[in-house]
């Protein structure tokens, strides 16, 4: 993997991480009313992962579990209403007052969006794992050609 083992980079990346998480959280929660949403939030989190990977702070661990969880969450949102007597993909909206945030409208659509986030993060992790794990064998073309 391409990684830059420099303490300065590591410190910088460490500092950026919480900021990015906040941005992701904003995008996620704002999504229903402002531009944003699960996909964008997931990609921002994914960007953190890649930065941390590059800085040697994180080693990609094959995101299939995250993706599996994401698929199941999203599928559950689709299926549960059907199981309890509604129609598939019926979404429910809850609204209420919360301390600090004030009047909040949320619903099963938000849970669905969590599935999206999980998958996107898993995807970035998987891509880091798949596209970057080993050194590309440009130096030893002869050996790889032999395998053909």
């Amino acid at each position: 993997m391409i990684s830059v083992h420099s303490p300065i980079v590591a410190v910088g990346v460490r500092a950026v991480t919480p900021l990015a998480v906040v941005v992701a959280a904003y995008l996620f929660f704002a999504g229903h009313n402002q531009p944003g949403g699960g996909f964008s939030a997931g990609l921002v989190l994914g960007a953190v992962l890649s930065l941390r990977t590059v800085a040697g702070l994180y080693h990609p661990v094959n995101g299939s579990k995250l993706m599996a969880a994401g698929i199941m969450v999203a599928a559950a949102v689709a299926l549960v209403p059907a199981a309890i007597g509604g129609g598939m993909l019926d979404m429910v909206v809850w609204s209420g007052e919360l301390p600090l945030l004030g009047k909040v409208k949320t619903g099963t659509a938000a849970i669905f969006d969590i599935g999206v986030v999980l998958i996107v993060v898993g995807l970035v992790d998987a891509v880091l794992d798949g596209l970057g794990t080993d050194d590309i064998a440009i130096e030893t073309p002869a050996s790889t050609r032999g395998a053909q």
């Binding site: 995807l123 064998a137 790889t144 050609r145 053909q148």
Partner: protein, 124 residues
């Protein structure tokens, strides 16, 4: 949609097609990225004229751009994103196996062609 958009879409298609008819995988990946842009733009443009962002608290439905094609376009962006990544991985694997990223011809097909050519030569 305006002629400018049609021009942009057609241009993207033209250069995209030119790239995907290449033998180099990197070019093919590039070509698909362009075709993907073209498709997304076409979807977006199919919603009608430009307008305000479709945020219900900032614009009325008359002022805003048609939101449905935007949603379709978003789905299309994400899907082509995933597939482009996959194509990249495929290109990389190809490089790993052959030391190059050229698309090779199918060997069985070439064998059949070669035999057909030879037979054609035998029976003038």
């Amino acid at each position: 949609m305006s002629l400018a958009l049609v021009f942009a879409i057609a241009g993207l298609v033209g250069f995209g097609v030119h790239l995907i008819t290449a033998r180099s995988l990197s070019r093919i990946v590039l070509g698909f990225a362009l075709l993907g842009h073209a498709a997304v733009l076409a979807l977006l443009a199919s919603g009608g004229p430009a307008g305000d962002p479709p945020l219900a608290d900032r614009a009325t439905s008359a002022e805003m751009a048609n939101p449905l094609p935007q949603a379709l376009a978003l789905t299309a962006i994400v899907i082509s994103f995933g597939l482009t990544l996959f194509l990249l991985a495929l290109a990389r694997r190809q490089h790993e196996l052959t030391g190059d990223d050229l698309v090779e011809d199918d060997l069985e097909d070439r064998a059949v062609s070669a035999l057909a050519d030879a037979e054609a030569a035998e029976t003038p």
